[in-house]
Amino acid sequence: MRRAAFIAIIALSLLTAGHSKAVAQGTPLVADLSDHLVAITTGFAGTDVLLFGATEAEGDVVVAIRGPTNPVTMHRKSRVLGIWANTASMSFERAPSFYSLATSRPLNEVAGRSELERHEIGIEHLKLELPRSKASENVANEWRAALIRTHQSLGTYQSEPGRVRFLGNRLFRAEFHLPANVPTGSYQVHVFLFQNGRVKSAQITPLIVSKIGIQAEVFDFAYQSSALYGVAAIIIALVAGWLGNAIFRKA
C-alpha cells in the first residue's frame, strides 16, 4: 500500500515534469523504472521490476523487456539404438536471452500483425534468424518454435503478457517478474504508445541485471583469471580436507 502511494507520487511528479517536456518536444510518452539495476546477490531468488509512466494522449501502452542478444545453439535429439541422443544442431545468429511483455489490452486488439512484426513486439514476432543456407522456411520455423518453447519452460520468455494498469486516464504502471535464472547483462525496456493500431511514440529505458558482491567476484575471478581460480579452488579443498581431519581427530 505504501509502495503504491509512493509510486503514485513519483508518477505524478513525472507527469507534471513530463507534461512540460512533452509539450515542448512533442513526446506524448514518458516512463521510467523504479530501479535500473537488478542485483543478483547471494540470496537472489528472483525479483520484481516496476515500470511507471504517463501518456499525453489516449491509447494503448505496451511494455517489452528484452535481455541481451546473443548467438544461440540448439540441439535436437533423436533415437539412436534406443537411446535419445543429440543428432542435429542449429545456431541462431541472434536471440534475446530474456523477453517479457505487458500490455494494456490483449495484443491482437492493440495492433495488427505487420505493425507488431515491424517493432518485434510479442514472442511470436521476435526476429530469430537462421542462416538461410542451412534451413528452409519450414525447418527454420520448427527450430524457432523450439527455441521459444525452451525459453518459455525456463521462464526466460514469459508467455502470458502481463497487465499495464492505468491509474486514472494518463498514469500507468506495469510490474514484471524476473526469475532466479534471469541472465545477466544490459537489458532494454521498450515502452510503446499505440493509437489506432500504429505506434505513436516509443521510448527505450536501460536495465542492468548484474551479479553483485561476492557472487560477482567469484564469477569474474573464474572467467578472467581461470588458472588462478583453479589453483585457489584446489587450495581451499586441501585446507578443508586437512581441517576436517584435524578437527575430528581431536574430538
Partner: protein, 307 residues
Amino acid sequence: MQIYLPIAEMSVDALLILALGGGVGFLSGLFGVGGGFLMTPLLIFIGVPPAVAVGTEANQIVASSVSGVLAHWRRGNVDFKMGLILSVGGFLGSTFGVFLFSILRKLGQIDLVITMSYVFFLGIIGALMMIESIRAMRRSRSPASAGGRTKLHKHTWIHGLPFKMRFQRSKLYISALLPLLIGFFVGILAAIMGVGGGFIMVPAMIYLLGMPTSVVIGTSLFQIIFVTANVTFLQAYANQTVDVVLAILLLTGAVIGAQIGAKAGARLPGEQLRGLLAAMVLLVCGKLLYDLLITPSDIYSIGLGGH
C-alpha cells in the same frame, strides 16, 4: 535458505546441498568409498548442469581424499612410490580426459557421454557389489569351507613387461607400465565423470597389480588427490565449470558426514549395508538409464552459447 551459485547460475537450497553432502559423506565414511559416483548424478538430478557437476565434484573429492589419506598415512598404509607412478598416469589421463570433455561439450554430446558412462559403470559395480553381498550373507549363514593355501599372486604375461620396478611397501616387483596405464585409464574417467575413480582403482590394484589390501585404500586416496586436483585445475581453466560456492557447501557436509559414517560403520551390520549401497547404486543407474530411454518431453534443447 536459498543461495545463488555463481558458476552454475542457479539458486539452490543451501540446506539441501549440505544434506546431500552429509548423506553421501556418511556413506563414504561407512564403506570407504569416495562418493563421487553418487554425488555427481545427484547434483545432475537437482538441476546442476552436468558439466558444472563434474568440475565441482572433482574439487570436492580433493578435500575428502586429503581428509581420508591423512588417517591412512598415520597408520603407514600408503605406498607412496606406487601412488606416484599411478599419479603420473592419472595426470596424463585426466589431462586427456578434460581435453575430450571440452570437445564433447562443444559438440553437444557431453551430457550423453557422462550419463552413459554412469549407466555403464554404476551398472557393473552395483551388480558386482550386490552379488558379493548376497554371497557373503549366505556364507555367514552356512559355515564356510576353508579354502586351501594360495600363492601371493599368480604369474601371468603381465610380469613379462619391461621397465620393472620394485615397490617395497606393496611387496611387488612389476613393470611400471602397468600402474601407468591403469592410472591413465582411471584419469580419463575421473575427468569425464567427476569421480575419484576409487571404485575402479581399488579392484584394479588388487586384481591386476596384486597389491596387498592393507595399502590399497590409502594409496588409491593418495593418487586421487593428484588426479582430482589436476581435473579441478583444468576444468576451471578450460571450461570454467568449477563452482567454489557449491564445492564448499558439499565438502562441509561431506567431511562431517564421513566422520559420522566411519564411526557408525563399526557398529552396523556390514553385509546388509553393503547390499543396501548396491541397491542404491543400481537405483541411480536405473534412473539415469530410464532418462536415456524414455521419449524426452522436448527433443529440442539449448546448447552451449545459449544461456
